[in-house]
């Protein structure tokens, strides 16, 4: 049982980061990025290509993160301009549809060029015992990375001037403009950050097990579920929801069944929308 829960936490940390990446973009700009899972896959492919070329793992990982952040910025500066010109529900709908298109473009290109592509970062060494449970080193590395990133984000949003600026744009965009903050610029930076997070998820995910080129849609689905359950726009909520759902996932997969587990997770999202639309920690 303990092993299952710890596995759940490892999974949950990855889910959490996924959710944070997606919820950030929604909180700031009202855009649901349905291409998010594909961006993770893109990062994975870039890293694996670099590693195949003999680039040391750490540098390749950095390259992957830069690549996903770069793609995110490109997306923000091009397609998203049209989206931000709309307001409210229109904006979210257009963002949803356009990013769906982007998901197909990226996914299709990657699958067609690297049909057997994927990434698996294996960490050698004996399993380490945590609370009496032997955990694979890869899982531990992944979790530590995820926690470090979470802590860095907390620091960023809570204590830095720019981070405060980001929060201000989320809470009152006009107020932010009045104190001299440029919401467009902030949105681009945050989009880049969410892209970087996608790259990091690629790394941590692939430390746990192989991340294949087909995983895009599934990852987007997880990200969406976590975001909705946590509360659209709430970073803390997404992280919490990720952890919760990760544990639920492994518990259910272990004791009930694989397909039912998917239904349970999807049901959690639907239930949240129907009963408590603002999610766990949303406003």
């Amino acid at each position: 049982m303990r092993a299952v829960i710890l596995d759940g936490i490892v999974l949950g940390l990855a889910y959490g980061l996924l959710g944070v990446g997606m919820t950030l973009v929604y909180g700031l700009g009202g855009v649901i990025n349905l291409a998010y899972g594909q961006m993770v896959v893109l990062g994975a492919i870039v890293i694996s290509l670099l590693m195949d070329d003999g680039v040391p793992t750490v540098v390749a990982a950095l390259g992957g993160v830069l690549a996903t952040a770069g793609v995110a910025v490109l997306l923000d500066l091009t397609l998203m301009r049209a989206v931000y010109r709309q307001r409210g529900e229109e904006r979210t709908l257009l963002g949803l549809l356009l990013t769906l298109g982007v998901a197909f473009v990226i996914g299709g290109l990657l699958v067609s060029r690297y049909p057997a592509g994927g990434l698996y970062i294996s960490i050698s060494g004996e399993p380490i015992s945590i609370l009496g449970v032997p955990m694979a080193r890869g899982s531990i590395w992944a979790s530590v990375m995820a926690l470090a990133v979470a802590a860095a984000l907390l620091l960023f949003f809570g204590a830095t001037t720019f981070g405060r600026g980001v929060r201000s744009v989320i809470q009152d965009e006009i107020g932010a403009r009045l104190v001299g903050i440029n919401p467009s610029f902030v949105r681009t930076v945050i989009f880049a950050l969410s892209g970087a997070l996608a790259g990091i998820v690629a790394i941590t995910s692939s430390m746990n097990g192989p991340l294949t080129v087909n995983a895009g849609f599934e990852l987007t689905t997880f990200a969406l579920i976590v975001t909705v359950v946590g509360g659209l726009g709430s970073v803390a909520g997404a992280f919490l929801a990720g952890l919760l759902l990760g544990v639920v996932n492994t518990l259910s997969a272990n004791y009930i069944g694989q397909y039912i587990t998917s239904v349970i997770l999807l049901g959690a999202a639907a239930l949240t929308i129907l009963i408590r639309p603002r999610g766990l920690l949303g406003r």
Binding site: E89, G101, G108, L266
Partner: protein
């Protein structure tokens, strides 16, 4: 002094306007009728291509009714079709009742589920985004259900659907004519709705929901109504397709197979227009055919289509082209140089 219209004249006038209203459908029906002789060349491959196009056209008309007319983003077209297909197949298999009973059951099941989803969305005041997410979640959950209940559905291995009347199954021309009839029937239903008070309500509702509500339009009722009828259409097409293809599995009704293409073809043709879905289905079939060798590139192209359509051609290619055509005609009519000289 008023002149009351005489009976025969009134009848002729009504017939005339009915004729005009149904003209596009009659034209489409005519084209569909002669298509086999012109194009198929007795090739089963071409026939099955045309059948698939018609099936998606039927899906599209249903989706058009739900999304195009009442702004309900139902990302569960595949699931609704799957409910039609699977419930029909399982029902007939378990009860050995005639096929047409099974098909009725399948259609009704899809209609009930669709209506229910709409009712829930209305009761909980879900906006278009949350409706989209909930229906997407439903789609995925349904796919998982199909995969999970191996005893009922055969999971990935699928179900063999036997018992189709001769001439219908295995991509024969009979199937083509069946679906052509279904599509024309759906078009008639859509047109009748469009021209009735229901169509008025739809137009008002799409334009400004609050204003429509204040003007006395029961938005909720019309939404549920549209969702039920549209879902019935989708379910019926899904059930019929199960029989004409003879084999179904979860992939037949998957989100990334059905919903994406339906979205593209309806948006392409024009959300809310009569012939949009049919024209879109035709174009999509053509594109699919051209790219049959490179399936992944097909996905990329769908993505590009979606982006291009929702960025630039929001009203749909057909509507934009028709608009352009009308403007050219108006321009030509107004130019004095083209007016006949009066010498």
């Amino acid at each position: 002094m008023e002149r009351t219209e005489s009976g025969p004249r009134r009848g002729a006038r009504l017939a005339g306007s009915a004729g005009r209203a149904l003209l596009p459908i009659v034209a489409a029906a005519a084209i569909l009728a002669v298509l086999p002789s012109i194009w198929f060349e007795d090739s089963p491959y071409t026939t099955s291509l045309a059948v698939r196009a018609l099936v998606f056209g039927a899906y599209g008309i249903g989706f058009n009714l739900i999304f195009g007319c009442t702004n309900q983003l139902f990302l569960c077209v595949g699931a609704l079709a799957g409910i039609g297909g699977y419930s029909t197949a399982i029902f007939v298999d378990r009860t050995s009742l005639p096929i047409w009973v099974g098909i009725a059951v399948g259609t009704a099941s899809a209609a009930i589920v669709g209506g229910l989803l709409s009712w829930i969305a209305v009761r909980r005041s879900l906006g278009i985004i949350f409706t989209g997410i909930v229906t997407l979640v439903f789609s995925l959950a349904f796919a998982n259900l199909l995969l999970g209940r191996r005893d009922l559905t055969g999971s990935e291995t699928g179900l063999l659907v036997t018992g189709a009347p001769a001439g219908l199954a295995d991509d024969q021309v009979g199937a083509y004519y069946l679906f052509a009839g279904v599509v024309v029937g759906f078009l008639v239903i859509f047109r009748v709705l469009q021209l009735s008070h229901v169509g008025w309500a739809f137009r008002g509702l799409r334009d400004d929901e609050v204003a429509a509500e204040l003007a006395g339009v029961d938005v909720a009722r019309y939404r549920i109504y549209a969702a039920t009828v549209g879902s019935a259409m989708i379910g019926l097409a899904g059930a019929l397709y199960a029989y004409s293809s003879g084999f179904i599995n979860p992939a037949t009704y998957a989100f990334d197979f059905v919903d994406v293409r339906v979205l593209v073809l309806v948006a392409f043709g024009g959300l809310g227009t009569l012939l949009g879905p049919v024209i879109g289905a035709g174009v999509l079939a053509f594109v699919d055919e051209q790219l049959s060798a490179r399936l992944e590139l097909r996905e990329v192209l769908y993505g590009v289509f979606v982006i291009a359509i929702f960025l630039f051609l929001r009203r749909g290619v057909v509507a934009t082209v028709v608009d352009l055509f009308n403007r050219v005609v108006a321009y030509l009519r107004a130019r004095p140089a083209l007016r006949p000289s009066r010498e």
